[in-house]
Symmetry: D2
Subunit: 224 residues, 4 copies
């Protein structure tokens, strides 16, 4: 009896250790703006993604870390990536930026498209130099109208295309939230509302918005 | 012989007079910005429309008058309508404005959507008070890219919709150049060029652009 | 005794009537933006000016009428001058506009300097054609910092100079509130605050601001 | 005879070597935008400064290196500082940036004041971590009018003050070109011209402008 208990204990210990070896914890940093800053709150997309990974992905072992700061543009990410991303030794970094680069043009401090690309590239390069897996996301929406009258749609599409092209060139997965949000709103916003479907205010996410983002990210992150 | 000559002369005179009574000349003023200012040049849309009316419309008797000034926004039209339009006693006024109201936002001096509507309404009201027929046009394009990445497309669609709604409310014909240009570019701009199809520089018309505008306007004006 | 009382009464009545003939009521319309809209409130500059005229100016007989609407730029004044000014048959019109023409450039819908001048001129011309006395005012401030770091100061000075030049050219009195506010803040804002001295929010008036405006306007209006 | 020649040769060699030891070449990198990019051209401020250092400063031994790129803002400098500055192992870096951060607000892609400061600080910190001497410069002008009507003056003064404060906090020398240009124009631009005194186009330097910058920089750099 005593022997069997000891053997069982050892077996459990070995299993635990081997599990550790088989599936070491994967650190995933979510690097972005206010949408990501709010993503770690209860109901936020990072919280939801954590639940989804735990319930839907067998043997999952991800540690999700939020690194979002309100008002951030692509060059703000570049500036703080040493402290807020590299210092955490992540295995995977999900970059989700672009809304403020476009939006802030309205009051004079957006980002030129060519510089958006240059800084985005520099971030990718620096992460890859550390053998960190990189996942790109396109900026979702600024306004949810479905009759093509959202003021910033032209630029959002342009900057999203820059990101898709960077993903292709660098052979990186892209979570195309722009596409997903446009399609969802087309189906679910028959009244052509400016916000209230996936966003509370044209930009920040409702519960449904957070759910949709979590589901989309799951598809890409589960594989890592 | 002499008698017959006199009778012929009288007959010709009478015919001329009666022709004058049957088809009195209709004055059409084209009221707009630089696109219309250039429209009176050889090859311009007003010139072409004049030819089309003469060759294609039986018994046509229109006098086309250009009243376009570069850089004009809707409130500029309102300011100069007494001198440049009403003073000419037109039968019909074609209003084509909106590109600068949207475009000039880039450097800080565009027109708010609500004020665009208010001034547009005021112009219509003042023309109708004089029993002048009014034809509305939507602003065509600022950039001809067909992948939805033209920066100003959202606003152009919004301001075009304001014009379409004003046409509906006031029971006025609308020459929907925005729609026509988008459809033409979709068919004829497979390389996703920013300009060079219907415009020389994203805004001002090529020969093909002038031709297309003339054809579209013909459909609306021929009826008057 | 009775006779003398009756004679006195008649004399007083006649004096009252004649006073009415000698000094008929002068209608003064204040034509402007939100600052003027708030000017008719208790403590507002129009209210204060009314008190000052009644207490300080012998034989005063002015009727002050507010015609301010929030967000108005010079072209908005032009649009509504028939309904809101001319329809009231004023003797004097005080034009105070310019802050929004400059300020709204920040989000894309300010007014170009050359068009500001053209519309301002058109308003003056239309008032003068009706023999209405016109008083011009320069826009006061957008920010009260005294170390020359208010973002819009360059343009405010430029548009104020346009107004001063229009006053000179048209031989009109100008109430130079820009100058008065700059001097007051220089003396009374040693801490270089952005607002809180003459404005509550960089633009709209504190009690002291309303008092200063009323005093300055008194100097110009008392003479009419 | 032969001996004396050998001794002379040795003496010259020793002198050369000792000169090298006494005054090792000091590398000065000029880090900035188009103004600095043009500064290395004949007549440019870097060229002129080189001449001044050679003729006016005894025992001078500076090597001046231009590192200016047109259109650069403070975050562009941060992005390329490894390649364009640190890789050159400079002893001194002169930072001259700010015009585009303010100017480009006009078309929507300027830099917020708080972010201007954050990036500027980050550049200083990274240079000081390498024991590189840092010299700060304030942005000179965007427009030379002397009646306080240059559109961007408020912001230029604000951003210049940020730089002066950073210099004070970090105990760094500052070449206050904003102050120098304002004073020079006040004395030498009685006609209130927008450009043509120190700039060819409101921003880029005339011969006189380059001369003035070279003279001002000489005062600060000679000491290093």
């Amino acid at each position: 009896m005593r022997h069997s208990k000891i053997i069982l204990s050892i077996a459990i210990m070995l299993l635990t250790i081997s599990a550790g070896f088989i599936a070491p914890k994967k650190k995933v940093v979510f690097f972005g703006d206010s949408i990501t800053q709010m993503g770690v709150n209860p109901g936020g997309y990072i919280c939801r993604l954590d639940s989804l990974l735990k319930t839907k992905v067998q043997g999952n072992n991800h540690e999700l870390i939020g690194a979002g700061i309100g008002g951030n543009k692509v060059y703000d990410l570049y500036l703080r990536m040493d402290d807020d991303v590299l210092a955490k030794n992540p295995d995977v970094v999900v970059i989700w930026v672009g809304v403020n680069d476009v939006w802030h043009k309205v009051w004079g401090t957006g980002t030129d498209a060519d510089k958006f690309e240059v800084f985005y590239k520099a971030i990718i390069k620096k992460l890859q130099a550390r053998n960190i897996k990189v996942i790109l996301c396109t900026p979702a929406v600024i306004g949810e109208k479905t009759d093509f009258t959202n003021q910033m749609d032209g630029d959002l599409n342009k900057y999203s295309q820059i990101i898709r092209d960077l993903a292709k060139t660098n052979n990186l997965p892209v979570c195309d939230l722009r596409k997903v949000f446009l399609e969802y709103d087309k189906q679910n916003n028959p009244e052509n509302k400016e916000f209230g479907i996936l966003t509370t205010d044209k930009v920040h996410l409702t519960d449904k918005g957070n759910e949709l983002v979590a589901e989309e990210m799951l598809k890409v992150i589960a594989g890592f």
